[in-house]
Protein backbone atom coordinates (compact mmCIF):
# COMPACT_ATOMS: atom_id res chain seq x y z
CA UNK A 1 0.00 0.00 0.00
CA UNK A 2 2.92 2.30 0.69
CA UNK A 3 4.19 1.81 -2.82
CA UNK A 4 0.79 2.63 -4.24
CA UNK A 5 0.70 5.70 -2.04
CA UNK A 6 4.09 6.78 -3.26
CA UNK A 7 2.80 6.21 -6.78
CA UNK A 8 0.05 8.75 -6.22
CA UNK A 9 2.07 11.11 -4.12
CA UNK A 10 5.21 11.36 -6.20
CA UNK A 11 3.60 10.83 -9.55
CA UNK A 12 3.49 14.41 -10.78
CA UNK A 13 7.24 14.84 -10.32
CA UNK A 14 8.00 11.63 -12.24
CA UNK A 15 5.89 12.18 -15.31
CA UNK A 16 7.35 12.12 -18.80
CA UNK A 17 6.39 15.14 -20.91
CA UNK A 18 2.76 14.58 -21.95
CA UNK A 19 3.71 14.50 -25.64
CA UNK A 20 5.60 11.20 -25.15
CA UNK A 21 3.00 8.81 -23.71
CA UNK A 22 0.17 10.51 -25.59
CA UNK A 23 1.83 10.04 -28.98
CA UNK A 24 1.87 6.27 -28.33
CA UNK A 25 -1.75 6.33 -27.16
CA UNK A 26 -2.77 8.48 -30.15
CA UNK A 27 -1.12 6.08 -32.60
CA UNK A 28 -2.83 3.16 -30.85
CA UNK A 29 -6.21 4.87 -31.25
CA UNK A 30 -5.57 5.42 -34.98
CA UNK A 31 -4.37 1.84 -35.53
CA UNK A 32 -7.43 0.59 -33.64
CA UNK A 33 -9.66 2.09 -36.34
CA UNK A 34 -7.38 0.83 -39.14
CA UNK A 35 -7.46 -2.69 -37.65
CA UNK A 36 -11.25 -2.87 -37.91
CA UNK A 37 -11.12 -1.47 -41.45
CA UNK A 38 -8.48 -4.07 -42.42
CA UNK A 39 -10.73 -6.76 -40.99
CA UNK A 40 -13.61 -5.36 -43.02
CA UNK A 41 -11.41 -5.67 -46.12
CA UNK A 42 -10.57 -9.28 -45.24
CA UNK A 43 -13.99 -10.28 -43.87
CA UNK A 44 -14.53 -12.99 -46.49
CA UNK A 45 -11.53 -14.94 -45.18
CA UNK A 46 -12.00 -14.19 -41.50
CA UNK A 47 -14.36 -17.02 -40.38
CA UNK A 48 -11.77 -19.70 -41.18
CA UNK A 49 -8.59 -17.63 -40.94
CA UNK A 50 -5.69 -19.44 -39.28
CA UNK A 51 -2.54 -18.06 -40.90
CA UNK A 52 -1.16 -16.66 -44.15
CA UNK A 53 -0.67 -13.25 -45.71
CA UNK A 54 -3.77 -11.13 -46.37
CA UNK A 55 -6.00 -8.55 -44.69
CA UNK A 56 -7.02 -10.73 -41.71
CA UNK A 57 -3.32 -11.11 -40.81
CA UNK A 58 -2.86 -7.37 -41.33
CA UNK A 59 -5.84 -6.69 -39.02
CA UNK A 60 -4.39 -9.03 -36.42
CA UNK A 61 -1.05 -7.21 -36.43
CA UNK A 62 -2.67 -3.79 -36.45
CA UNK A 63 -4.31 -4.86 -33.19
CA UNK A 64 -1.30 -6.58 -31.65
CA UNK A 65 1.53 -4.28 -32.77
CA UNK A 66 -0.51 -1.17 -33.51
CA UNK A 67 -2.82 -1.08 -30.50
CA UNK A 68 -1.64 -3.47 -27.81
CA UNK A 69 2.16 -3.10 -28.00
CA UNK A 70 1.92 0.60 -28.89
CA UNK A 71 -0.14 1.22 -25.74
CA UNK A 72 2.08 -1.08 -23.68
CA UNK A 73 5.15 0.97 -24.64
CA UNK A 74 3.51 4.29 -23.73
CA UNK A 75 1.95 2.97 -20.53
CA UNK A 76 4.97 1.04 -19.24
CA UNK A 77 7.44 3.86 -19.94
CA UNK A 78 5.16 6.19 -17.97
CA UNK A 79 3.76 3.98 -15.22
CA UNK A 80 6.80 1.93 -14.23
CA UNK A 81 9.10 4.83 -13.21
CA UNK A 82 6.22 6.41 -11.30
CA UNK A 83 5.18 3.19 -9.57
CA UNK A 84 8.71 2.10 -8.74
CA UNK A 85 9.83 5.56 -7.59
CA UNK A 86 12.45 6.44 -10.18
CA UNK A 87 13.37 9.69 -11.84
CA UNK A 88 12.44 10.08 -15.51
CA UNK A 89 15.37 8.87 -17.62
CA UNK A 90 15.66 9.66 -21.31
CA UNK A 91 12.89 11.49 -23.14
CA UNK A 92 14.66 11.38 -26.53
CA UNK A 93 14.77 7.59 -26.73
CA UNK A 94 11.02 7.03 -26.27
CA UNK A 95 10.38 9.70 -28.92
CA UNK A 96 12.87 8.04 -31.30
CA UNK A 97 11.26 4.65 -30.69
CA UNK A 98 7.89 6.09 -31.68
CA UNK A 99 9.28 7.55 -34.91
CA UNK A 100 10.77 4.17 -35.85
CA UNK A 101 8.01 1.92 -34.55
CA UNK A 102 4.89 3.70 -35.86
CA UNK A 103 5.77 3.66 -39.58
CA UNK A 104 7.24 0.18 -39.08
CA UNK A 105 3.86 -1.12 -37.94
CA UNK A 106 2.17 0.55 -40.92
CA UNK A 107 4.65 -1.12 -43.31
CA UNK A 108 4.19 -4.54 -41.68
CA UNK A 109 0.40 -4.27 -41.90
CA UNK A 110 0.39 -2.99 -45.47
CA UNK A 111 2.94 -5.64 -46.50
CA UNK A 112 0.76 -8.37 -45.00
CA UNK A 113 -2.52 -7.01 -46.35
CA UNK A 114 -1.32 -6.30 -49.89
CA UNK A 115 0.93 -9.43 -49.90
CA UNK A 116 4.17 -7.51 -50.37
CA UNK A 117 6.77 -9.56 -48.45
CA UNK A 118 9.55 -7.00 -49.07
CA UNK A 119 7.48 -4.22 -47.47
CA UNK A 120 6.60 -6.49 -44.60
CA UNK A 121 10.30 -7.29 -44.11
CA UNK A 122 11.27 -3.59 -44.12
CA UNK A 123 8.52 -2.87 -41.60
CA UNK A 124 9.48 -5.87 -39.48
CA UNK A 125 13.10 -4.66 -39.36
CA UNK A 126 11.97 -1.23 -38.12
CA UNK A 127 9.60 -2.80 -35.57
CA UNK A 128 12.28 -5.18 -34.28
CA UNK A 129 14.85 -2.37 -33.93
CA UNK A 130 12.34 -0.15 -32.14
CA UNK A 131 11.29 -2.94 -29.80
CA UNK A 132 14.92 -3.78 -29.02
CA UNK A 133 15.44 -0.14 -28.02
CA UNK A 134 12.24 -0.31 -25.97
CA UNK A 135 13.48 -3.53 -24.33
CA UNK A 136 16.65 -1.67 -23.30
CA UNK A 137 14.60 1.18 -21.76
CA UNK A 138 12.27 -1.27 -20.03
CA UNK A 139 15.23 -3.18 -18.60
CA UNK A 140 16.65 0.09 -17.23
CA UNK A 141 13.32 0.90 -15.56
CA UNK A 142 13.03 -2.59 -14.10
CA UNK A 143 16.66 -2.62 -12.85
CA UNK A 144 16.18 0.67 -11.02
CA UNK A 145 12.80 -0.27 -9.54
CA UNK A 146 12.21 0.17 -5.83
CA UNK A 147 9.25 -1.63 -4.27
CA UNK A 148 6.35 -3.41 -5.94
CA UNK A 149 8.18 -6.72 -6.45
CA UNK A 150 5.07 -8.36 -7.91
CA UNK A 151 4.86 -5.77 -10.68
CA UNK A 152 8.61 -5.89 -11.31
CA UNK A 153 8.65 -9.71 -11.61
CA UNK A 154 5.83 -9.50 -14.16
CA UNK A 155 7.84 -6.83 -15.99
CA UNK A 156 10.96 -8.98 -16.21
CA UNK A 157 8.96 -12.01 -17.34
CA UNK A 158 7.30 -9.89 -20.04
CA UNK A 159 10.75 -8.60 -21.04
CA UNK A 160 12.08 -12.13 -21.64
CA UNK A 161 8.93 -12.98 -23.59
CA UNK A 162 9.47 -9.89 -25.75
CA UNK A 163 12.88 -11.21 -26.80
CA UNK A 164 11.33 -14.57 -27.74
CA UNK A 165 8.60 -12.76 -29.69
CA UNK A 166 11.18 -10.71 -31.62
CA UNK A 167 13.27 -13.78 -32.46
CA UNK A 168 10.25 -15.75 -33.68
CA UNK A 169 8.90 -12.73 -35.59
CA UNK A 170 12.20 -12.52 -37.46
CA UNK A 171 12.06 -16.26 -38.17
CA UNK A 172 8.51 -15.90 -39.56
CA UNK A 173 9.39 -12.84 -41.66
CA UNK A 174 12.43 -14.66 -43.09
CA UNK A 175 10.21 -17.65 -43.88
CA UNK A 176 8.07 -15.42 -46.12
CA UNK A 177 11.26 -14.21 -47.82
CA UNK A 178 12.25 -17.83 -48.51
CA UNK A 179 14.91 -18.07 -45.79
CA UNK A 180 13.67 -20.66 -43.28
CA UNK A 181 15.45 -20.10 -39.97
CA UNK A 182 13.17 -22.17 -37.78
CA UNK A 183 10.41 -24.65 -38.51
CA UNK A 184 7.37 -22.45 -39.27
CA UNK A 185 4.93 -24.34 -37.03
CA UNK A 186 7.38 -24.12 -34.12
CA UNK A 187 8.03 -20.41 -34.72
CA UNK A 188 4.29 -19.70 -34.99
CA UNK A 189 3.42 -21.63 -31.82
CA UNK A 190 6.13 -19.79 -29.87
CA UNK A 191 5.19 -16.43 -31.40
CA UNK A 192 1.48 -16.67 -30.49
CA UNK A 193 2.02 -17.92 -26.94
CA UNK A 194 4.89 -15.59 -26.04
CA UNK A 195 3.33 -12.51 -27.66
CA UNK A 196 -0.23 -12.79 -26.40
CA UNK A 197 0.03 -14.62 -23.07
CA UNK A 198 3.69 -13.75 -22.53
CA UNK A 199 4.68 -10.20 -23.37
CA UNK A 200 1.28 -8.51 -23.56
CA UNK A 201 -0.49 -10.80 -21.12
CA UNK A 202 2.13 -10.53 -18.38
CA UNK A 203 2.39 -6.75 -18.78
CA UNK A 204 -1.40 -6.48 -18.52
CA UNK A 205 -1.52 -8.71 -15.45
CA UNK A 206 1.44 -6.91 -13.82
CA UNK A 207 0.16 -3.38 -14.39
CA UNK A 208 -3.25 -4.49 -13.05
CA UNK A 209 -1.64 -4.83 -9.61
CA UNK A 210 -1.08 -1.06 -9.71
CA UNK A 211 -4.18 0.12 -11.52
CA UNK A 212 -7.04 -2.00 -10.19
CA UNK A 213 -6.42 -1.32 -6.46
CA UNK A 214 -5.79 2.33 -7.27
CA UNK A 215 -9.14 2.80 -9.00
CA UNK A 216 -11.08 0.54 -6.60
CA UNK A 217 -9.45 2.19 -3.59
CA UNK A 218 -8.37 -1.06 -1.99
CA UNK A 219 -5.25 -2.47 -0.40
CA UNK A 220 -2.60 -3.72 -2.82
CA UNK A 221 -2.86 -7.49 -3.37
CA UNK A 222 -0.43 -9.73 -1.49
CA UNK A 223 2.93 -9.55 -3.29
CA UNK A 224 3.59 -13.26 -2.66
CA UNK A 225 0.39 -14.25 -4.44
CA UNK A 226 1.17 -11.89 -7.33
CA UNK A 227 4.63 -13.46 -7.68
CA UNK A 228 3.14 -16.98 -7.40
CA UNK A 229 0.65 -16.20 -10.17
CA UNK A 230 3.49 -14.87 -12.33
CA UNK A 231 5.59 -17.95 -11.57
CA UNK A 232 2.79 -20.25 -12.72
CA UNK A 233 2.37 -18.23 -15.92
CA UNK A 234 6.10 -18.37 -16.63
CA UNK A 235 6.15 -22.13 -16.00
CA UNK A 236 3.24 -22.54 -18.42
CA UNK A 237 5.08 -20.53 -21.08
CA UNK A 238 8.30 -22.51 -20.61
CA UNK A 239 6.40 -25.79 -20.97
CA UNK A 240 4.56 -24.40 -24.01
CA UNK A 241 7.96 -23.70 -25.56
CA UNK A 242 8.99 -27.31 -25.01
CA UNK A 243 5.75 -28.47 -26.61
CA UNK A 244 6.37 -26.16 -29.58
CA UNK A 245 9.69 -27.94 -30.14
CA UNK A 246 7.83 -31.25 -30.30
CA UNK A 247 8.25 -32.59 -26.76
CA UNK A 248 5.06 -34.61 -26.07
CA UNK A 249 3.07 -31.82 -27.70
CA UNK A 250 -0.52 -32.83 -26.93
CA UNK A 251 -0.06 -34.09 -23.37
CA UNK A 252 2.25 -31.22 -22.49
CA UNK A 253 -0.11 -28.62 -23.95
CA UNK A 254 -3.01 -29.95 -21.88
CA UNK A 255 -0.77 -29.63 -18.81
CA UNK A 256 0.28 -26.12 -19.93
CA UNK A 257 -3.37 -25.04 -20.10
CA UNK A 258 -3.96 -26.41 -16.59
CA UNK A 259 -0.96 -24.48 -15.21
CA UNK A 260 -1.96 -21.33 -17.11
CA UNK A 261 -5.49 -21.78 -15.75
CA UNK A 262 -4.11 -21.85 -12.21
CA UNK A 263 -2.09 -18.67 -12.89
CA UNK A 264 -5.15 -16.90 -14.29
CA UNK A 265 -7.40 -18.13 -11.47
CA UNK A 266 -4.96 -16.84 -8.84
CA UNK A 267 -4.67 -13.48 -10.59
CA UNK A 268 -8.41 -13.07 -11.06
CA UNK A 269 -9.09 -14.07 -7.46
CA UNK A 270 -6.76 -11.27 -6.31
CA UNK A 271 -8.45 -8.79 -8.64
CA UNK A 272 -11.89 -9.87 -7.43
CA UNK A 273 -10.82 -9.40 -3.80
CA UNK A 274 -9.37 -5.96 -4.61
CA UNK A 275 -12.67 -4.95 -6.19
CA UNK A 276 -14.78 -6.56 -3.45
CA UNK A 277 -12.89 -4.90 -0.61
CA UNK A 278 -12.44 -1.62 -2.45
CA UNK A 279 -14.00 1.49 -0.95
CA UNK A 280 -15.06 2.59 -4.42
CA UNK A 281 -17.64 0.11 -5.72
CA UNK A 282 -19.14 1.88 -8.72
CA UNK A 283 -16.36 1.84 -11.30
CA UNK A 284 -18.52 2.42 -14.36
CA UNK A 285 -18.49 1.22 -17.91
CA UNK A 286 -14.72 1.02 -18.23
CA UNK A 287 -14.54 -1.68 -15.58
CA UNK A 288 -17.35 -3.60 -17.25
CA UNK A 289 -15.00 -3.87 -20.22
CA UNK A 290 -12.19 -4.95 -17.88
CA UNK A 291 -14.44 -7.66 -16.42
CA UNK A 292 -15.46 -8.82 -19.89
CA UNK A 293 -11.76 -8.98 -20.78
CA UNK A 294 -11.02 -11.15 -17.74
CA UNK A 295 -13.88 -13.50 -18.68
CA UNK A 296 -12.54 -13.76 -22.22
CA UNK A 297 -9.08 -14.59 -20.84
CA UNK A 298 -10.55 -17.62 -19.09
CA UNK A 299 -12.59 -18.49 -22.20
CA UNK A 300 -9.45 -18.32 -24.36
CA UNK A 301 -7.91 -21.12 -22.27
CA UNK A 302 -11.02 -23.26 -22.76
CA UNK A 303 -10.82 -22.63 -26.52
CA UNK A 304 -7.09 -23.47 -26.42
CA UNK A 305 -7.97 -26.80 -24.82
CA UNK A 306 -10.46 -27.43 -27.62
CA UNK A 307 -7.73 -26.72 -30.20
CA UNK A 308 -5.23 -29.02 -28.46
CA UNK A 309 -7.78 -31.84 -28.19
CA UNK A 310 -8.86 -31.27 -31.79
CA UNK A 311 -12.50 -30.67 -30.80
CA UNK A 312 -14.94 -31.12 -33.68
CA UNK A 313 -15.90 -27.46 -34.07
CA UNK A 314 -15.14 -25.58 -37.26
CA UNK A 315 -13.12 -22.39 -36.91
CA UNK A 316 -11.93 -23.21 -33.40
CA UNK A 317 -8.45 -21.81 -34.07
CA UNK A 318 -9.99 -18.54 -35.27
CA UNK A 319 -12.30 -18.45 -32.28
CA UNK A 320 -9.33 -19.00 -29.95
CA UNK A 321 -7.47 -16.09 -31.58
CA UNK A 322 -10.56 -13.90 -31.37
CA UNK A 323 -11.12 -14.63 -27.68
CA UNK A 324 -7.44 -14.14 -26.86
CA UNK A 325 -6.59 -11.01 -28.86
CA UNK A 326 -9.85 -9.11 -29.19
CA UNK A 327 -11.91 -10.59 -26.35
CA UNK A 328 -9.25 -10.49 -23.64
CA UNK A 329 -6.37 -8.17 -24.52
CA UNK A 330 -8.11 -5.51 -26.64
CA UNK A 331 -11.25 -5.31 -24.49
CA UNK A 332 -9.22 -5.13 -21.27
CA UNK A 333 -6.86 -2.54 -22.69
CA UNK A 334 -9.65 -0.29 -24.01
CA UNK A 335 -11.36 -0.44 -20.61
CA UNK A 336 -8.17 0.58 -18.82
CA UNK A 337 -7.20 3.13 -21.47
CA UNK A 338 -10.45 5.10 -21.21
CA UNK A 339 -9.89 5.28 -17.46
CA UNK A 340 -6.17 6.07 -17.45
CA UNK A 341 -6.09 8.68 -20.25
CA UNK A 342 -8.19 11.36 -18.48
CA UNK A 343 -6.42 10.50 -15.20
CA UNK A 344 -2.98 10.92 -16.76
CA UNK A 345 -4.04 14.09 -18.59
CA UNK A 346 -5.31 15.55 -15.34
CA UNK A 347 -2.03 14.71 -13.59
CA UNK A 348 -0.06 16.48 -16.32
CA UNK A 349 -2.27 19.54 -16.03
CA UNK A 350 -1.96 19.52 -12.25
CA UNK A 351 1.68 20.59 -12.46
CA UNK A 352 1.85 24.23 -11.46
CA UNK A 353 -1.91 24.63 -11.60
CA UNK A 354 -4.01 26.15 -8.84
CA UNK A 355 -7.21 24.38 -9.84
CA UNK A 356 -6.38 21.58 -12.27
CA UNK A 357 -9.24 20.11 -14.33
CA UNK A 358 -10.78 16.89 -13.06
CA UNK A 359 -10.38 13.72 -15.17
CA UNK A 360 -14.11 13.64 -15.97
CA UNK A 361 -14.04 17.25 -17.21
CA UNK A 362 -11.41 16.20 -19.77
CA UNK A 363 -13.21 13.03 -20.82
CA UNK A 364 -16.10 12.68 -23.28
CA UNK A 365 -18.87 10.38 -22.15
CA UNK A 366 -21.04 9.97 -25.25
CA UNK A 367 -18.34 8.61 -27.58
CA UNK A 368 -17.43 6.10 -24.88
CA UNK A 369 -21.06 4.95 -24.63
CA UNK A 370 -21.07 4.39 -28.42
CA UNK A 371 -17.72 2.62 -28.30
CA UNK A 372 -18.85 0.34 -25.46
CA UNK A 373 -21.92 -0.93 -27.33
CA UNK A 374 -20.15 -1.20 -30.67
CA UNK A 375 -17.11 -3.03 -29.29
CA UNK A 376 -19.12 -5.67 -27.46
CA UNK A 377 -21.49 -6.10 -30.42
CA UNK A 378 -18.52 -6.45 -32.78
CA UNK A 379 -16.82 -9.11 -30.64
CA UNK A 380 -20.07 -11.07 -30.37
CA UNK A 381 -20.68 -10.63 -34.10
CA UNK A 382 -17.22 -11.95 -34.98
CA UNK A 383 -17.74 -14.99 -32.75
CA UNK A 384 -21.06 -15.61 -34.48
CA UNK A 385 -19.39 -15.21 -37.89
CA UNK A 386 -16.89 -17.92 -36.98
CA UNK A 387 -19.50 -20.34 -35.66
CA UNK A 388 -21.83 -19.75 -38.62
CA UNK A 389 -18.89 -19.51 -41.07
CA UNK A 390 -20.46 -16.33 -42.40
CA UNK A 391 -18.37 -13.65 -44.15
CA UNK A 392 -21.33 -11.19 -44.29
CA UNK A 393 -21.72 -11.36 -40.50
CA UNK A 394 -17.95 -10.86 -40.17
CA UNK A 395 -18.15 -7.79 -42.43
CA UNK A 396 -21.08 -6.38 -40.46
CA UNK A 397 -19.25 -6.98 -37.16
CA UNK A 398 -16.07 -5.35 -38.51
CA UNK A 399 -18.14 -2.33 -39.63
CA UNK A 400 -19.67 -2.01 -36.15
CA UNK A 401 -16.19 -2.39 -34.63
CA UNK A 402 -14.89 0.38 -36.90
CA UNK A 403 -17.75 2.63 -35.77
CA UNK A 404 -16.81 1.93 -32.15
CA UNK A 405 -13.14 2.61 -32.88
CA UNK A 406 -14.08 5.92 -34.54
CA UNK A 407 -16.09 6.83 -31.42
CA UNK A 408 -13.05 5.99 -29.28
CA UNK A 409 -11.06 8.29 -31.59
CA UNK A 410 -13.55 11.10 -30.94
CA UNK A 411 -13.05 10.53 -27.20
CA UNK A 412 -9.27 10.79 -27.62
CA UNK A 413 -9.39 13.91 -29.82
CA UNK A 414 -11.80 15.58 -27.38
CA UNK A 415 -9.44 14.77 -24.52
CA UNK A 416 -6.51 16.27 -26.41
CA UNK A 417 -8.45 19.42 -27.24
CA UNK A 418 -9.55 19.87 -23.64
CA UNK A 419 -6.00 19.26 -22.44
CA UNK A 420 -4.69 21.96 -24.78
CA UNK A 421 -7.45 24.37 -23.78
CA UNK A 422 -6.65 23.83 -20.09
CA UNK A 423 -2.89 24.12 -20.62
CA UNK A 424 -3.05 27.26 -22.78
CA UNK A 425 -3.23 29.89 -20.01
CA UNK A 426 -0.12 28.50 -18.33
CA UNK A 427 3.40 29.38 -19.24
CA UNK A 428 5.05 26.60 -17.28
CA UNK A 429 4.10 23.66 -19.45
CA UNK A 430 6.96 21.39 -20.50
CA UNK A 431 7.97 21.86 -24.14
CA UNK A 432 7.06 19.02 -26.48
CA UNK A 433 9.72 16.48 -27.35
CA UNK A 434 10.52 15.91 -31.02
Amino acid sequence: MMAAGAFLGGATSRLLPASIPFRFFGAAVAYHLLAWLALLAGAQWFPRFEAGLGWPLAALHLVTLGVLVMTAIGASLQLLPVATRQAVRSTRWPAAIWWLYTPGVAAVALGMGAVLPWLMAVGAAAVVLALLAYAALLAGNLRGARGMPGVVVHGWAAWVCLLVVLATALALALFWLGVPLLDRATALALHVAFAAYGFMGLLALGLSYILVPMFALSAAPDERLAIASCGLAVAALALAALAAFGVAPQALRVFVIAVAGAAVALHLWQMREALRKGMRRELGRSFTLVRVGWTMLACSLVAALGVVLDAPLGGLVTLFGLLLIVGWLLTFLLGILQRILPFLASMHLARGSKRPPTPSSLSAERPLVVHFSCHLAAVAGLALAVVAESPPIAALAAGVGALGAAAFGVFFVTLQRRMRASARPRQTAAPPVA
Binding site: M2, F7, L8, L217, M279, E282, K354, R355, S360
Partner: protein
Protein backbone atom coordinates in the same frame (compact mmCIF):
# COMPACT_ATOMS: atom_id res chain seq x y z
CA UNK B 1 -8.07 -1.80 5.09
CA UNK B 2 -6.78 -2.18 8.64
CA UNK B 3 -4.83 0.62 10.26
CA UNK B 4 -2.99 0.33 13.57
CA UNK B 5 -3.20 3.91 14.84
CA UNK B 6 -6.32 5.47 16.36
CA UNK B 7 -5.84 8.59 14.24
CA UNK B 8 -5.72 6.52 11.04
CA UNK B 9 -8.80 4.57 12.11
CA UNK B 10 -10.81 7.71 12.90
CA UNK B 11 -9.86 9.36 9.61
CA UNK B 12 -10.59 6.13 7.71
CA UNK B 13 -14.04 5.89 9.31
CA UNK B 14 -14.76 9.49 8.28
CA UNK B 15 -13.49 8.76 4.75
CA UNK B 16 -15.81 5.78 4.44
CA UNK B 17 -18.80 7.81 5.63
CA UNK B 18 -17.84 10.58 3.21
CA UNK B 19 -17.54 8.15 0.30
CA UNK B 20 -20.99 6.79 1.09
CA UNK B 21 -22.58 10.23 1.05
CA UNK B 22 -20.54 11.34 -1.98
CA UNK B 23 -21.76 8.25 -3.85
CA UNK B 24 -25.37 9.22 -3.13
CA UNK B 25 -24.75 12.81 -4.19
CA UNK B 26 -23.10 11.60 -7.40
CA UNK B 27 -26.02 9.31 -8.21
CA UNK B 28 -28.59 12.06 -7.73
CA UNK B 29 -26.69 14.68 -9.73
CA UNK B 30 -25.38 12.33 -12.42
CA UNK B 31 -28.95 11.89 -13.68
CA UNK B 32 -30.22 14.40 -16.20
CA UNK B 33 -31.27 17.68 -14.58
CA UNK B 34 -34.82 17.48 -13.30
CA UNK B 35 -37.24 20.36 -13.39
CA UNK B 36 -38.39 21.21 -9.87
CA UNK B 37 -35.68 19.07 -8.22
CA UNK B 38 -34.59 22.09 -6.23
CA UNK B 39 -37.88 21.96 -4.30
CA UNK B 40 -37.90 18.19 -3.66
CA UNK B 41 -37.74 17.48 0.16
CA UNK B 42 -35.50 14.41 -0.36
CA UNK B 43 -33.14 16.50 -2.45
CA UNK B 44 -33.17 19.20 0.24
CA UNK B 45 -32.23 16.64 2.87
CA UNK B 46 -29.34 15.31 0.75
CA UNK B 47 -28.16 18.86 0.01
CA UNK B 48 -28.18 19.59 3.75
CA UNK B 49 -26.06 16.49 4.47
CA UNK B 50 -23.70 17.39 1.63
CA UNK B 51 -23.34 20.94 2.92
CA UNK B 52 -22.58 19.65 6.44
CA UNK B 53 -19.98 17.26 5.06
CA UNK B 54 -18.22 20.05 3.20
CA UNK B 55 -18.27 22.37 6.20
CA UNK B 56 -17.01 19.66 8.53
CA UNK B 57 -14.29 18.56 6.13
CA UNK B 58 -12.94 22.03 5.66
CA UNK B 59 -13.23 23.30 9.21
CA UNK B 60 -12.14 20.20 11.07
CA UNK B 61 -10.73 17.38 8.94
CA UNK B 62 -8.57 19.49 6.61
CA UNK B 63 -7.29 21.76 9.37
CA UNK B 64 -6.33 18.81 11.57
CA UNK B 65 -4.50 17.08 8.74
CA UNK B 66 -2.63 20.22 7.72
CA UNK B 67 -1.67 21.23 11.24
CA UNK B 68 -0.85 17.87 12.78
CA UNK B 69 -0.19 15.36 10.02
CA UNK B 70 1.18 17.00 6.88
CA UNK B 71 3.88 18.73 8.92
CA UNK B 72 4.98 15.37 10.32
CA UNK B 73 4.86 13.88 6.84
CA UNK B 74 7.17 16.60 5.51
CA UNK B 75 9.57 16.17 8.41
CA UNK B 76 9.71 12.44 7.61
CA UNK B 77 10.92 13.24 4.07
CA UNK B 78 7.53 12.82 2.36
CA UNK B 79 7.18 16.49 1.46
CA UNK B 80 5.98 15.67 -2.07
CA UNK B 81 2.91 13.85 -0.84
CA UNK B 82 2.21 16.45 1.87
CA UNK B 83 2.45 19.29 -0.67
CA UNK B 84 0.16 17.48 -3.10
CA UNK B 85 -2.48 16.80 -0.44
CA UNK B 86 -2.31 20.41 0.79
CA UNK B 87 -2.76 21.73 -2.77
CA UNK B 88 -5.82 19.51 -3.15
CA UNK B 89 -7.25 20.91 0.08
CA UNK B 90 -6.83 24.44 -1.29
CA UNK B 91 -8.57 23.50 -4.52
CA UNK B 92 -11.46 21.91 -2.64
CA UNK B 93 -11.78 24.97 -0.42
CA UNK B 94 -12.19 27.04 -3.58
CA UNK B 95 -14.88 24.70 -4.96
CA UNK B 96 -16.57 24.65 -1.55
CA UNK B 97 -16.72 28.45 -1.54
CA UNK B 98 -18.72 28.29 -4.77
CA UNK B 99 -21.17 25.55 -3.89
CA UNK B 100 -21.78 25.93 -0.16
CA UNK B 101 -24.22 28.88 -0.55
CA UNK B 102 -26.08 26.87 -3.22
CA UNK B 103 -26.17 23.72 -1.07
CA UNK B 104 -27.49 25.75 1.87
CA UNK B 105 -30.17 27.28 -0.36
CA UNK B 106 -31.11 23.81 -1.65
CA UNK B 107 -31.32 22.53 1.93
CA UNK B 108 -33.66 25.40 2.81
CA UNK B 109 -35.76 24.76 -0.31
CA UNK B 110 -34.99 28.21 -1.70
CA UNK B 111 -32.68 27.23 -4.56
CA UNK B 112 -33.92 28.58 -7.89
CA UNK B 113 -34.04 26.18 -10.85
CA UNK B 114 -31.28 28.25 -12.46
CA UNK B 115 -29.04 27.56 -9.45
CA UNK B 116 -29.60 23.81 -9.73
CA UNK B 117 -27.34 23.46 -12.77
CA UNK B 118 -24.58 25.40 -11.06
CA UNK B 119 -24.92 23.30 -7.90
CA UNK B 120 -24.93 20.11 -9.98
CA UNK B 121 -21.75 21.10 -11.82
CA UNK B 122 -19.98 22.13 -8.62
CA UNK B 123 -21.21 19.13 -6.63
CA UNK B 124 -19.99 16.64 -9.24
CA UNK B 125 -16.63 18.41 -9.32
CA UNK B 126 -16.44 18.30 -5.53
CA UNK B 127 -17.35 14.59 -5.49
CA UNK B 128 -14.64 13.76 -8.02
CA UNK B 129 -11.99 15.78 -6.19
CA UNK B 130 -12.97 14.39 -2.80
CA UNK B 131 -12.94 10.78 -3.99
CA UNK B 132 -9.56 11.22 -5.65
CA UNK B 133 -8.22 12.93 -2.52
CA UNK B 134 -9.52 10.22 -0.19
CA UNK B 135 -7.90 7.70 -2.55
CA UNK B 136 -4.52 9.35 -2.06
CA UNK B 137 -4.91 9.72 1.69
CA UNK B 138 -6.01 6.12 2.11
CA UNK B 139 -3.12 4.79 0.06
CA UNK B 140 -0.40 7.21 1.14
CA UNK B 141 -1.16 9.21 4.29
CA UNK B 142 -2.91 6.72 6.57
CA UNK B 143 -0.44 3.82 6.13
CA UNK B 144 2.44 6.22 6.79
CA UNK B 145 0.85 7.34 10.07
CA UNK B 146 1.22 3.78 11.37
CA UNK B 147 4.99 4.26 11.16
CA UNK B 148 5.10 7.98 11.84
CA UNK B 149 3.22 8.20 15.16
CA UNK B 150 4.21 6.58 18.42
CA UNK B 151 1.57 5.32 20.86
CA UNK B 152 1.47 8.42 23.01
CA UNK B 153 1.36 10.92 20.13
CA UNK B 154 -1.35 8.82 18.52
CA UNK B 155 -3.46 8.92 21.70
CA UNK B 156 -2.95 12.66 22.14
CA UNK B 157 -3.81 13.47 18.53
CA UNK B 158 -6.87 11.20 18.54
CA UNK B 159 -8.10 12.91 21.74
CA UNK B 160 -7.42 16.37 20.34
CA UNK B 161 -9.29 15.54 17.13
CA UNK B 162 -12.26 14.08 19.00
CA UNK B 163 -12.46 17.22 21.15
CA UNK B 164 -12.16 19.66 18.23
Amino acid sequence: MNFMRQVSQVLDTEHRASLDLLGRVEQVFARAPRAGAARDPEFASLAAAFGRLIEQDIARHFDFEETELFTRLSEAGEGNIAALLREEHDTMREVAGEILPLARAAAAGTLADSGYDELRRGALEMVERQVSHIQKETMALLPMLDDLLDDQTDRELAFAYASA
